[in-house]
């Protein structure tokens, strides 16, 4: 790695003692000797294993659930259904007032995605739990699923999630989060070229080496200690407290080093049901996703569809950018309304464009609920923006790197969401890239600065 100190040297104090030093990682000795403690590196006598019975359908009504055979299976300690969960309806961001509650801890009336949790089985061994889970009988009436953003937004589409009453999230701004700046139609009218393109992505899994999970131990004083690999201790505690209708002081979350997160361990999907199981049985409970569950059941990065329409001048200036973005939330909100909102704030990218219109939708389908993942709301948007930018440069016959210099934002420029740019450094990154990648650009671009405009 090259630490390039020549840029912005006057804005930095480089005479610090500890900051800037390559101190060894405090956890590295544990990692290389195998002694780092992860949540599952503990043993508990009498540990019960939780296995989840999951929906085999994208969308179905539950007519009945019969757990009687499963309960009789040797080694089974308890079978848990929706009626056992004190506050079965929840949504994780309710803590910061992003509602409505739209998801069941265990399915009640309907299942809305293939893999949704329906019944939890607790047994002495994982094998006994598997065997008993196979004996749970769920009678489903299969419903038409909604499997794409386009289908979800059709006027006659089946409703995926009745708690929203429509197949998109309703913001205070309406059916989407909007950003309006300048006059995009006027911009298109003056443009030399218009380019409208559509970009898409597939869900992406975090694939951490350690799957999501927790072990809950009931304590003698009536509290529950939950050893968990959550990325957010109090997020988990507070949501568990609401779901279980249990005061927070009854709960004790213990984390440690997490075996990779990437956003996949921000959802609160394992802890509440495991704590409930420990409460109902009085025994320690382990609920750890299998690799298959981690891959297909834990929420992925959302599939997205992004339509970008640009107006560009022959001299390289982008004069209008209209973005319509759709984030496929799957069946439940989790963090997707937040993600779609973050996308609205991120467009039109790190460029100064005088006329911008953004519509960012959070859409519900009968897909695995999507949620947080490294850069969500931005990562796929950046793919779309930067491929589009490349297309614009080629459309007017300009070098793609030089084209970006022309449009790059600089300190003082007003962004589309009406914040003045501060602390920009895109131009300097491109200057350094020009050098290290041997991609020469015109001298005037090498003289540019993010700190202001020449004229």
């Amino acid at each position: 790695m090259k630490l390039s100190k020549k840029y912005f040297a006057d804005e930095r104090d480089d005479d610090l003692v500890e900051i800037g030093q390559p101190r060894p990682r405090s956890d590295i000795r544990g990692h290389v000797t195998g002694r780092t403690a992860y949540f599952a590196d503990r043993t508990f006598p009498g540990l019960l294993h939780l296995k989840m019975v999951r929906s085999p359908h994208h969308h179905a009504r539950i007519r009945s659930i019969d757990t009687s055979e499963a309960e009789k299976h040797p080694g089974v300690a308890r079978v848990i259904t929706a009626k056992d969960v004190p506050q079965n309806l929840y949504t994780i961001l309710i803590l910061i007032q992003v509602g409505p509650e739209d998801e069941h801890v265990l399915a009640e009336d309907k299942v809305r995605w293939k893999g949704e949790a329906v019944v939890a089985v607790l047994a002495e061994t994982a094998r006994a739990a598997e065997e008993a889970a196979a004996k749970v009988k769920v009678d489903y009436e299969v419903l038409d699923p909604v499997l794409s953003i386009e289908d979800a937004l059709k006027p006659d589409a089946p409703i995926v999630n009745e708690h929203h009453g429509r197949n998109y999230y309703l913001y205070d701004s309406g059916e989407c989060r909007k950003v309006l700046f300048g006059d995009v139609e006027e911009g298109f009218a003056q443009a030399d070229h218009i380019l409208e393109e559509t970009y898409r992505s597939s869900p992406i899994e975090h694939a951490p080496l350690e799957t999501s999970g927790c072990i809950v131990a009931p304590e003698a004083n009536g509290r529950f200690t939950c050893y968990t690999n959550t990325q957010a201790m109090f997020f988990t505690l507070d949501n568990a407290s609401i779901i279980l209708q249990m005061p927070g002081h009854k709960l004790h979350m213990v984390g440690g080093t997490v075996g990779g997160g990437f956003g996949g361990k921000v959802d609160v999907t394992v802890e509440p049901i495991a704590i409930l199981a420990a409460k109902l049985t009085g025994r320690p409970v382990s609920f750890i996703y299998s690799r298959e569950e981690e891959m297909q059941v834990s929420s992925p990065r959302a599939a997205e569809k992004i339509v970008i329409k640009d107006g560009v001048m022959k001299d390289g200036r982008i004069v209008a950018r209209q973005v319509t973005a759709y984030v496929d939330a799957g069946a439940y909100s989790r963090h997707s309304p937040y993600g779609a909102q973050k996308a609205a704030a991120h467009f039109p990218g790190p460029y100064t464009i005088p006329n911008v219109a953004i519509d960012s939708y959070c859409v519900y389908t009968n897909r695995t609920p999507s949620s947080a993942m490294r850069g969500f709301g931005v990562t796929i948007g950046d793919f779309a923006l930067e491929v589009q930018t490349d297309k614009l440069a080629r459309l007017i016959g300009m070098d793609p790197l030089e084209f970006r210099f022309i449009n790059a934002y600089r300190d003082g420029d007003m962004k589309a969401h009406r914040q003045p740019t501060e602390g920009a450094a895109l131009i300097e990154c491109m200057q350094e890239a020009s050098v290290i990648a041997d991609w020469p650009v015109d001298e005037r671009f090498m003289k540019m600065s993010s700190r202001g405009r020449e004229d």
Binding site: G30, T33, R35
Partner: protein, 160 residues
Amino acid sequence: MAKIPVQFTLNGSERAEFVESGTTLLAALRDKMGDTSPKGGCHQGTCGACTVMVDGELRLSCLTMAETCNGAHIRTTAGLANGEVLHPLQRAFENGFAAQCGFCTPGMIMAAAALLERNPNPSRDDVVEAISGNICRCTGYEPIIQAVLSAARANSTSAA
């Protein structure tokens, strides 16, 4: 359920436990013998986090039945260091910042140790092949490859 005796040498110590028939070596090591250095990343044989050595050969402990290891010599990352003196691979992983979350590290180090025991002067391709059964989601592999090569160099220097 009848319990089955398992008895083997773990990192030089004689160990014996009773396990349920059908228990994997990974479960026996972690739950019965207190060696949690092998990690259960997939239980499918596709991630390598549970890699150990059985009689000098790399094995996936999640796919190995514990009772098939009776009488064997089993080595795990927990037994690599000689007291406080780290194995050259452990030193190289530390110095090279070759671990982030650390969950793949014990298995990765066992895979690398098996390579260096057979081939003290591996090429980059040899290292790539040796760790190919071990998934890492954090580092992008390059620091790990460099650490293994550097451990090999350190070894050959100290031998010379």
